[in-house]
């Protein structure tokens, strides 16, 4: 229906359904005269509903004006029959004033308007027709929009649940019905926490609260629930704030049990393959090695030469297995990062120290390996061993390609991030090969020289590791002039780091109804120390304290982070009372040391007693930064 009554020349096609010839003539005459508003009508008349249906089916009719009393139909039946056979045609009903009370019923049954036969005049009828057509158009547009929405919703393959502000279920789609084995009719209006599913509701409740608080989507992974087949399963859910009409939150997601099972199988497979490859490799290596070393008797020079080539190949194979394991862990997001505040300049110095194998290899080749770093610390919140791995991968690579000249590790303190680079004066990478540099098993331009052969995975691993730290890595190179690998790492503020940790701690604790405590050790004499020492000097003292803290914690799986505000210790599954003992012990242990220049005190907060989310706990610890 796209009819608009606009033009003077356009005639509105009207079908008049009237069995009373007098009435029919009256209406036809009224519509035949061109009124002040200039609309022209082209009226056809039939006297039975059957004839009307026939005529409507031919199309081109824009509106039906119908008496409700016809020889073959009576009352609201007439309207229903018209609607059924021509749902898109607007209807104006003609009724008698005596039937005033049936007017509303007629509208409810689908007519757009009605007029009383006794009062009919040209103006009234024209207006009724005009509004009926417009009203019908609006209704159609709404109906179409609704149908489209329903079509979209029904074609979604994830479960979709809507909640109102009181956490009552306001929407429950077919997939939700299937996933939980609960029909929509049985849950609508009931509380989400009490809708009949056996699951870790605590984890969901935290997600709902977080979503409302942040007014941003929240993802909850691996929510355990009981599937309709009574087996344990896992859900992956995303909660979205919608705040529209009845709906406050939308939850969508899926039963990820099968995917989890597959992931587990894949992990098991990779770890088994790795074990099964290593076992014979160990025997081969040990056998070759013993013959080469002469433990089993004299060997000739040629035999030794071949055996040492074999040994190198065996070691390369074992490196490839290690790298493959690393890559598969990175790709599956399974690599564990032991994050800490790390001074990157110290890492650079470590790699280039005279005793480091990289410095020794550089010396052997007559290459200079040096660092260019600022004189102050550049601290990033990273997994130290992984960042060392990135550096050594890059330096190891450079050592392979540089014949003479130098390799330089540099670290720069930029605004909000650290920029690290490894630059060499080697042969460089040609332009067409640059985009492929980080691909797996990509090796190019290499001439077989002495020394360790690569695995072809080092750069792919480096890229993965940098990206796991939310950083970026890229390469700049020119053929014949050398290569520069650059990676940047974000420098987070202490508060952000702590927030991340508390948040992940709560997520682990909540589903098991476990607790979590966070102790803050404040440095009371920070101000006076800072006057006497440089910033780095105070940091070094705090670092010493952190070492003492770790000893006191007896290297348990606890976590500590250092910042300008002191040292934080996170104690999983520890309640307030126990963590208070831990705090006291740490303080006493430190004060027992010969030198303890820091004056410390501590306060602590616990989940769930003191707060339900990381923001609440953090605001108790660091109130001055409350925004």
């Amino acid at each position: 229906m796209s009819t608009k009554i606009k033009s003077r020349d356009q005639k509105v096609k009207v079908l008049l359904i009237e069995s009373n010839p007098t009435y029919a003539r009256v209406v036809q005459e009224l519509l035949a005269v061109s009124g002040g508003n200039g609309i022209l009508f082209d009226v056809e008349c039939v006297d039975r509903i059957s004839a009307a249906v026939d005529r409507l089916s031919k199309g081109d009719i824009q509106i039906a004006i119908s008496d409700v009393h016809l020889p073959d139909s009576d009352g609201t039946q007439t309207i229903l029959k018209l609607r059924m056979n021509a749902p898109e045609i607007p209807i104006v009903a003609l009724i008698g004033t005596a039937e005033k009370s049936s007017g509303m019923v007629i509208l409810e049954n689908g007519a757009q308007d009605y007029v009383f036969m006794e009062q009919v005049n040209r103006e009234l009828l024209t207006r009724a027709i005009r509004y009926a057509i417009e009203r019908k158009q609006t209704e159609e547009a709404l109906r179409k929009a609704h149908a489209e929405k329903e079509l979209l919703l029904s074609s979604i393959t994830s479960l979709l649940i809507g909640l109102n502000v009181k956490d009552e279920i306001a929407y429950w789609n077919v997939i939700a019905e299937g996933t939980f084995g609960i029909l929509s009719g049985n849950v609508m209006g009931s509380l989400f926490s009490d809708c009949g599913i056996h699951w870790q509701y605590d984890a969901i409740a935290i997600g709902l609260a977080e979503c409302r608080q942040k007014n941003a989507p929240v993802r909850i992974n691996d929510v355990r629930f009981l599937r309709p087949n009574m087996e344990d399963g896992y859900l992956g859910l995303t909660i979205i704030p919608v705040k529209s009409g009845q709906l406050d939150l939308l939850i969508f997601g899926a039963d990820i049990t099968e995917r989890k099972k597959l992931e587990h199988l894949k992990d098991e497979f990779i770890s088994t393959v790795s074990h099964e490859l290593r076992t014979p490799l160990t025997v081969i290596r040990e056998g070759v090695s013993q013959v080469l070393e002469g433990i089993l008797g004299e060997t000739t020079e040629n035999q030794k030469k071949f055996l040492s080539i074999a040994l190198q190949a065996i070691d390369r194979l074992s490196r490839i297995i290690n790298d493959l394991l690393d890559i598969s862990k990175i790709e599956a997001d399974k690599l564990e990062l032991k994050m800490d505040l790390v001074d990157l300049t110290a890492v650079a110095h470590e790699i280039t120290a005279p005793s480091s194998p990289y410095q020794m290899r550089a010396n052997d080749k007559g290459i200079t390996l040096e660092v260019r770093v600022p004189s102050h610390r550049v601290e990033c919140y990273v997994a130290k061993d992984k960042i060392i791995q990135v550096f050594t991968n890059l330096v190891g690579n450079a050592l392979k390609f540089v014949e003479k000249g130098k390799i330089e590790i540099s670290i720069e303190d930029k605004d909000g991030y650290a920029e690290c680079s490894v630059t060499d004066t080697g042969m460089g990478i040609s332009k067409e090969n640059l985009p492929k540099a980080f691909n797996k098993f990509q090796q190019f331009d290499r001439t077989d020289g002495p020394g360790e052969k690569g695995t072809g995975l080092g750069l792919a691993i480096s890229k993965g590791l940098v990206e796991m730290h939310k950083g970026k890595i890229w390469v700049e190179s020119e053929r014949g002039k050398g290569t520069k690998f650059i990676f940047i790492l974000p420098m987070l503020q202490g508060r952000d780091i702590l927030k991340q940790y508390i948040s992940s701690g709560i997520r682990k604790a909540a589903p098991n109804k476990s607790s979590l405590s966070c102790i803050q050790f404040r440095i009371l004499n920070f101000g006076s120390l800072k006057k006497g020492l440089s910033k780095d000097g105070v940091t070094a003292l705090i670092e010493d304290f952190q070492v003492s803290v770790r000893k006191s914690l007896r290297n348990k799986a606890d976590f500590s982070v250092r910042g300008e505000f002191g040292v934080f210790v996170l104690l999983p599954s520890t309640n307030k009372e126990d963590s208070c003992h831990v705090g006291k012990r740490i303080k006493e242990d430190y004060e027992k040391l010969n030198s303890h220049p820091l004056e410390i005190n501590f306060n602590l907060v616990s989940f769930p007693e003191d707060g339900q989310n990381e923001e609440e706990l953090l605001n108790l610890l660091l109130p001055e930064e409350k925004s």
Partner: protein, 135 residues
């Protein structure tokens, strides 16, 4: 000086043969076992100065052997070095938590293994102190 006694426990007889050969060449006295039951029996009766222990074995796993050795009065003080082809970090942590000294990943560098064995016998090494914490 009397040579130190080392018990090698691994379900792969070829591996056991080769490590035995190497360690004997380095003047250690060697006994071997290819399963946990033999391993515990030999450890209890022969009283080695060190046990080299594989992790993944049929019948009795390395972790259970280590736990058993550390729970018996007459074998508790014997240092245990784990030699494994498994890369599961949680299994390392489990072994260390019941008193193993160190975990070495196969294939290993022989020089490194010999150095670690020497370190295990050094009364001044830090491990001995950690070890004493379990006694």
């Amino acid at each position: 000086m009397k040579s130190k006694k080392i018990l090698i426990v691994d379900d792969d007889p070829n591996f056991v043969l080769m490590v035995k050969y190497r360690l004997e060449a380095n003047h250690y006295e060697i006994e071997t076992a290819t399963n946990g039951i033999d391993a515990i029996k030999i450890a209890t009766e022969w009283k080695p100065d060190l046990v080299l222990l594989d992790l993944i074995m049929p019948v009795m796993e390395g972790y259970d052997i280590c736990k058993k050795l550390k729970s018996q009065d007459d074998t508790r003080k014997i240092p245990v070095i784990v030699l494994t082809a498994s890369t599961k970090k949680d299994s390392y942590a489990k072994c260390l938590s019941v008193g193993a000294l160190v975990v070495i990943l196969k294939p290993f560098n022989p020089a490194e293994l010999l150095a670690l064995i020497k370190k295990a016998f050094d009364p001044n090494s830090k491990w001995r102190k950690i070890e004493s914490a379990y006694q």
